[in-house]
Each structure stands twice: as C-alpha cells, then as structure tokens.
C-alpha cells in the first residue's frame, strides 16, 4: 500500500537555521531519507516553502479565483511530505516516526487511494 506522510509544525518551533541544532536536524532528515531508500520504501519526499508563498485556487461557475495564502489558516502548517510504499500501517507508522519534525510537530499518515490505471 502507498502511504502519504504529511509533516506539520507551527512556525518557528523547530531548530533555527545557522545553529548547531539545525545542522543536526538536517542530518537527521538525511539519515531518515537514506533509511527509506535503503529499505526500498521511498516513492517521493519533498520539503515545501513556507505558507507565505502559498497560492490557493478555486474555480466557481467556470471562473478562476486566485487567492494569496494557504487553504486553511492553522497554527500547524504543512511543511513537507513523504510517500512510502509499505505492507501495512504498522510499517508506515514506523517509517513516519523517523521524521525528525515528529519530535515537536505532527506527522499525519494517510493511505493513498488505489484507483485503476487500466
């Protein structure tokens, strides 16, 4: 099964850039990603620019509305994601728990719906 791990955290809660903690934090991300690759479970994974760069779009009555900002103003913001290929949710939870942001933010695990391709 495919699982999406959504990485949420409140702004300015993680280690600040240009500190030794930040270096360690980035190292932990690299180590996690390496584990995913070595175990053959990584399908994708990216970090996002912060929500001040987000643009939201709606089509209503065939007309496009474009808005500055994220869809929902929440304290914890989506900052990145991974997509894993796992046998079951236990595996997905195990890999998602290695995401360093989980120590101060929240990682949401969602199964990806299977839709036929043929």
């Amino acid at each position: 099964m495919k699982y999406l791990a959504l990485i949420y955290s409140a702004p300015n809660t993680g280690p600040a850039p240009n500190t030794p903690e930040f270096g360690e934090f980035m190292g932990a991300y690299q180590a996690a990603t390496r584990t995913y690759q070595e175990d053959g479970v990584l399908l994708a994974g990216e970090a996002l620019q912060d929500t001040s760069t987000a643009t939201s779009i709606r089509i209503r009555n065939g007309k496009r509305e474009t808005m500055d900002g994220p869809f929902a103003e929440t304290k914890e913001q989506l900052g990145g994601f991974y997509i894993f290929e796992c046998a079951n949710i236990d595996e997905a939870i195990r890999y998602a728990s290695m995401i360093p942001t989980a120590t101060y933010g929240t990682v949401e695990v969602r199964p990806i719906m299977e839709i036929s391709k043929d």
């Binding site: 099964m1 699982y3 796992c86 046998a87 079951n88 949710i89 236990d90 997905a92 939870i93 195990r94 199964p111 299977e114 839709i115 036929s116 391709k117 043929d118």
Partner: protein, 447 residues
C-alpha cells in the same frame, strides 16, 4: 498467506481446549439456546479464524452471521452436527466464497488476480477437507484479532467496542447500553472501525518484537477499561455492568493462555481479581457507594483475593515490572491490610510514585497524594494538592480529596465548600449519595 493453520510462526501456542459443551439438545427451543451459547462461547475463535482465512473483517463477520442463521434452520431439521463449531466455520467459509463470487468487482487486473488466487485457495481447502471427510481445522487466531482490534490507529472507544464485539460474548445492543450509546451509534462506530482497518491497512498480525511491549500495553489497557466500565463507573451493579467486568476477566484469561509467562498480563489479572473481590462491599443497601475506608472487609471475597495474590506473586517472580503489576501491588496492600488505618500507606505512596513513571498523569499524582495524606497528615497533603489543582480543576475526585483533607484538618467551612463542588461535579447518583452522606456526617459531628 494468512489462513493456513501451520503457517504462523510466533503466534504462540495454539490451544484447543476440550470444549465443555452441554449435552445434545432435544427440542427446537433447546437448539436455539444451544446455538446462542455456542455463538457466545466460540464467536471470538471462529471469527478470528475466518478473518485470518478471508483477510477481510466485514466479509468474515457477515459470513459468520449468515452461518448462525443457517445453523438454526438446519439443526432444527436435521439435529446437531457432530462438531457444531466446525459446521459453523465451514458454512461461513462457503457463504464467504459465494459472496466473493457475487460481488466480484475489480478496479485492476492486479486485484482480479489476487481475487482468483484467494478464491481458489479457499475452495481448494474446502474440497480437500470434504474429500478427506475431515472437520475443518480451526486455528486459534484470537491473539492476532485482539492486536488488530486494539490497534493504536483506532480511537479508544472503538478499540473497546470492537474488542467486545468480536472477541467478547456481548451483542451490539449490550455493548451500546453498557456505554450509554444508542444501538445505531454503536453499530456505526463498529462499521467505521472495520472500514478503517481495511482502508488504512491495519494488519491482522501480532506486532514485531520491538513493538510488542508497547502494543501489549495498549491491549491490556483496553481490557482494563472494559473492566472499569463494569466496576468503577458507579452506575451500580446492573447485570450489564457485571457482565462487562466478567468479560474483561475472560479476555485476560484468553490472553494469558495465548501469551503465557507474561508478567503484565498476570499483573492485570491480579488487579482485576483484587478489585472484583470487593464488589459485594462497594455499595450499601440504599445503593450508595461505600469508600474503601468504610467497607466491611468481611464481605471481601476471599477466593478472589487468594487468586489475585497468586497471580501477582507469579508476575513479580519474573522481575520485569510494569504498570499493571504496580497497580496490582497497590491493590494487594489494601487486600492484606487488617483495616484502613493499618494499611501500609508509605509503601502505597511509593508505588504510586513508581506508577507515575509509566503513567505520567495528574490522576496518578492525586492518588499518591491521598496515600501520602495518611503518612504526612492532611495539612501536608493540602500543600501537595496544589501541584495538580490546575490540571484537575473539574475532576470530581480532586475536590472530594480536598474536602476530606480539609475535614481531617478541622476546616469545616472550607471542607463544606469543597464537598459541594465535588457533589456538583459528580456524574453518578451513587457517588453523589456517597458525598452527600460524608458531608452530612461532618456537619453533624461539628455541631
């Protein structure tokens, strides 16, 4: 593949008890009652085996339900089969094969291949057993089932409901009434939980070594919550509630048989037996709750205490402490004390401190403070209470404890206020009656 009885390394011993099924029934009414009893007794084992076999919770359950209905007609007409459990299992499996055939609907080639493989496997097994005139083998898969039902990805109430519904002998309506839910709400909860198991990929499996301890603690907590719902919820001793406690103890016994020598399971068993030993002393003739302090210890059930202490001793001899053993040890100190004053309070307070390492929450702290109040006195306890007052400001037992400390310290007016607050917060009539009585006693004594 799941479903092959010889293919589950690490599932623990497969116990197959000699089933003490009552003598064959003679008339239709007897058949009905017999089937009812059989369904209650064997539901968990048959359902677990079917789920392992079919790899589908809902399909297994529907098929089992269907088999029960067929059994009633069939057995009334033809008498009891040689092995009623095997008959139910085989019939359910055939019903499931029919359903699979009828509802086949594939989104992809991959799914279709998986379906064919599964169906062929099921039919081959059925044919082989028929040819050899063998009763189908029913492996004991209940341990996998209980780990699935108590999976941390499910919400707490759903874990309880699902465990009672699949492994327990309670019907949906009994579970609904025990948890003060309507039947449709409870049924909906069960449907949602089963859908999440399927769609989120919650495995029908015993967790691996590195997760086992944590996951076992979740399972034991579910069982203990079921017990508590039947014991502490203070709705009095209605039959449904007593059934819940009995059900929790039955589940723990099943677990104990499936995972022998596990000290935390023994600890939970001890804890429940020790609590249960006080059942007769917990309510007075008017239905009001009686505090431990005032309970008539002659009403405590000696055999339950003996069994509870034996389980605790067995657990402690394994030298692997855990939260359920600690709670049982606390309960054991009460059981061993000749009366309330001659209880080993210092030891109880230090056990609560130990428990807080596993259960770091203010309720455990509050319990420790109550124990400490019998060591250091009520004035010191009032000071300690400040540590948890904010976290537990709407928690009835906090105000009851405060009232008690104030009363013992001689501050009647303040104690009265605290009692009033506790009475306001008490959800249950039995608790309200208990607090009102304490307040009345205090006011009479101070006049």
């Amino acid at each position: 593949m799941a479903g092959h009885p010889d293919n589950q390394a690490g599932t623990g011993p497969h116990i197959r008890k000699g089933n003490a099924i009552p003598p064959p029934p003679e008339n239709e009414k007897d058949i009905h009652r017999h089937l009812d009893r059989l369904a209650r007794k064997e539901r968990g084992r048959l359902l677990a085996a079917l789920i392992a076999h079919l790899n589908d919770f809902q399909l297994a359950e529907d098929a089992f339900q269907d088999a029960l209905e067929r059994a009633l007609h069939h057995w009334q007409k033809n008498g009891l089969p040689r092995s009623p459990a095997a008959w139910l299992f085989q019939t359910a499996r055939r019903r499931a094969i029919d359903t699979l055939r009828r509802t086949a609907n594939f989104h992809s080639k991959q799914q279709e291949i998986a379906y064919e493989t599964r169906l062929n496997g099921l039919m081959a097994q059925d044919r082989a057993e028929m040819a050899m005139q063998q009763a189908p083998a029913i492996p004991d898969e209940r341990l996998r089932l209980i780990f699935t039902c108590c999976h941390p990805a499910l919400d707490k109430k759903s874990r309880i409901a699902l465990t009672l519904h699949t492994l327990g002998g309670l019907t949906t309506s009994e579970i609904a009434s025990a948890f003060l839910d309507t039947i449709p709400t409870m049924a909906q909860r069960l449907v949602r939980a089963k859908r999440k198991i399927r769609q989120a990929g919650i495995p029908f499996a015993i967790p691996g070594k590195e997760q086992l301890e944590e996951r076992l603690d979740t399972v034991l907590s579910v069982i203990y919550l079921i017990f508590n719902e039947g014991y502490f919820s203070a709705h009095g001793d209605s039959p449904v509630r007593t059934a819940l406690s009995a059900e929790a103890m039955r589940l723990a016994r099943i677990l104990l048989a499936l995972v022998p020598d596990q000290p935390e399971i023994e600890g939970l068993m001890a804890l429940m037996l020790l609590h249960d030993s006080r059942r007769a002393a917990r309510f007075d003739a008017t239905g009001a709750m009686v505090a431990l302090e005032q309970q008539d210890r002659n009403l405590w059930h000696k055999e339950s205490i003996r069994q509870g202490l034996a389980f605790l001793d067995a657990a402690m001899s394994r030298h692997a402490p855990g939260p359920f053993q600690i709670q049982a040890a606390i309960s054991a100190l009460h059981a061993r004390a000749p009366d309330h004053t001659r209880t080993d309070w210092p030891q109880i307070a230090s056990l609560y401190k130990e428990l807080a390492r596993y259960r770091p929450n203010p309720v455990v702290q509050l319990n420790r403070i109550v124990a400490l109040s019998y060591v250091e006195g009520p004035k010191a306890a009032l000071l300690h209470l400040k540590e948890v007052e904010d976290a537990l400001s709407d928690y009835q037992p906090l105000h009851a404890a405060r009232a008690d400390f104030l009363r013992r310290a001689g501050h009647v007016t303040e104690a009265e206020k605290a009692y009033q607050r506790a009475i306001e917060l008490a959800g249950e009539e039995t608790v309200r009656m208990f607090l009102q009585r304490k307040l009345g006693q205090m006011l009479r004594a101070s006049n």
